[in-house]
């Protein structure tokens, strides 16, 4: 986010609100923004989801193509995750090669999905050592108001759960659903001085000393974590954050499974 600054007075306001357990959009510190989503709106994608988390609007498309396996995993499919932060979504984003920021987002989302073993990669093998399915997960932000990590993860998981392997298009038999098992979800926090807030807006992100994301599987176990920005966390901060994240992802997961 080049050239994106936040006035000191606004930063101060956000902190003062947080000290009273308040947010600029009237949430509590441990409350996510309202979530809405649409599934498979993109006809050309094998699976897609558009997720709105507050004003953050993210579109994820899944494409599958036959390809060669990695030599060390000859009977496993391959997952490739990309993220593009385009000027469309915010004037602070620039066209061109992926920024550090977008690479970090793609890698954190990828890690949550990969480490949870959400996709059964062995079922994506066509011919051991020769041919496997490559799963491309492309994240595109349409409107940015903070917390790409959670919005992109939810959209990616929804898109994968609704994706089809286009085998018939490549003369490789009948189409079948992408073999997915679980619902890895993330919760992202920021730290303002000594206070933790979940699901930060852009203003909150710009005021933050630190950002922390944790990915949690269906059993409430942790699958990936990422600390960003220059600030630091105490042991108590981490434990408290993980506790909040478990509760939030549990509620979110049951909601998504029910299709709400």
């Amino acid at each position: 986010m080049k050239r994106t600054i936040i006035p000191e007075i606004k930063k101060e306001m956000i902190y003062k609100l947080a000290q009273r357990d308040c947010r600029e959009d009237d949430r509590s510190p441990v409350e996510s923004r309202p979530l809405t989503y649409e599934i498979n709106t993109i006809g050309t994608a094998e699976g897609s989801a558009r997720v709105k988390l507050g004003k953050t609007d993210v579109l994820v498309g899944v494409k599958l193509q036959p390809g060669e396996p990695y030599p060390d995993k000859p009977n496993q499919g391959v997952l490739m995750t990309g993220c593009e932060l385009k000027p469309m979504a915010h004037p602070g984003f620039e066209s061109g090669a992926p920024s550090e920021e977008s690479i970090e987002i793609a890698r954190v989302v990828d890690r949550g999905i990969r480490e949870s073993k959400m996709i059964d990669m062995e079922k994506l093998c066509i011919e051991p050592g020769k041919k496997i399915w490559m799963v491309f997960l492309d994240i595109q932000v349409i409107n940015y108001d903070g917390n790409m990590f959670d919005a992109a993860t939810i959209a990616s998981v929804l898109a994968l759960h609704n994706a089809i392997v286009p085998a018939s298009r490549f003369d490789l038999g009948d189409d079948f659903p992408v073999p997915v098992a679980c619902w890895p979800l993330t919760t992202t926090f920021i730290k303002l001085h000594d206070l933790l807030l979940v699901d930060p807006t852009l203003n909150e992100e710009l005021s933050a000393d630190l950002r922390f994301t944790v990915s949690i599987d269906d059993n409430g176990d942790f699958r990936a974590m990422q600390k960003g920005l220059k600030g630091s966390l105490t042991y108590d901060d981490v434990i408290r954050a993980l506790d909040i994240a478990q509760k939030l992802t549990l509620g979110m997961r049951s909601r998504l499974i029910k299709g709400e």
């Binding site: 469309m88 979504a89 915010h90 004037p91 066209s95 992926p98 492309d138 349409i142 298009r169």
Partner: protein, 249 residues
């Protein structure tokens, strides 16, 4: 094998049931993004296009600045998942060309001389492609520039005509584009009749070209009405709905 595909049936209708001079359904919405100065969303058949506009703002880097007028910069991009084959992210030669001709078309109608040293940046994102994305992009971009409140003389409307099975038709679909014999996308300033974008590929005789161009121009006039309607429904105020105090102000 390509010769075996019949694009026009015995009843004279096309694969998707359209008549020769019939457009696919078009839906335009203005002002759909929060952070952009102007924006538009357009669905045209299965094409889905989002456009964001920023500016006039200081042109960066500085050597791009023109001391006499604003520059218009367009970035046309197809999302990775927008097509049957995954599109590799990043600019390619096709996108670069489309960006350039779209910018040149828009420069015709934007009053760039009012904003020396400034830049007007237009970002066209094709999120689902179904042939005719450059026309969809330019049409939506005009609405987005207007939505940004940037002074302009007119809007540009865009549409393609082409040839399939030896017959001139309007607005080629994906199969028609792949297996047809010609494609002629144009951009028109509907109120003045100026053509500000014109490309062609394939094979057309002189008569065929005239028929196709006229057909595309007529369609552009219709599309211009849809663009106006999109802006009207975003900004029109119904004075009857206001209470008296507000109406007097």
């Amino acid at each position: 094998m390509t010769d075996n595909i019949k694009l026009i049936g015995k009843d004279g209708l096309r694969l998707d049931g359209r008549k020769a001079d019939e457009l696919r359904p078009i839906k335009i919405q203005a002002g759909v993004l929060d952070n952009a100065d102007g924006s538009a969303y357009l669905e045209w058949g299965n094409n889905k296009v989002l456009v964001a506009v920023y500016g006039p703002r200081e042109a960066q880097p500085k050597y791009l600045q023109n001391p006499a007028k604003a520059i218009v910069q367009v970035t046309y991009n197809m999302a990775a998942f927008s097509s049957d084959e995954r599109v590799r992210p990043g600019p390619n030669r096709r996108a670069t060309e489309i960006s350039k001709i779209t910018a040149e078309a828009l420069e015709n109608v934007i009053l760039t001389n009012q904003f020396p040293r400034a830049s007007i940046d237009v970002y066209i994102e094709v999120i689902e492609a179904d042939a005719g994305t450059r026309c969809a992009g330019l049409t939506a971009a005009s609405v987005a520039v207007a939505d940004a409140g940037i002074p302009m003389m007119n809007m540009v409307s865009s549409c393609a005509a082409g040839k399939i099975d030896g017959q001139i038709v309007l607005d080629l679909g994906k199969k028609e584009d792949n297996f047809g014999q010609a494609d002629l996308p144009i951009g028109l300033v509907a109120r003045t009749g100026e053509i500000v974008l014109l490309q062609m590929d394939g094979h057309l005789t002189q008569d065929e070209f005239k028929t196709a161009l006229k057909m595309a121009m007529e369609a552009c006039k219709h599309i211009h009405g849809l663009q106006q309607e999109a802006l009207r429904s975003r900004y029109a105020v119904n004075f009857a709905d206001m209470d008296d105090g507000e109406a007097e102000q």
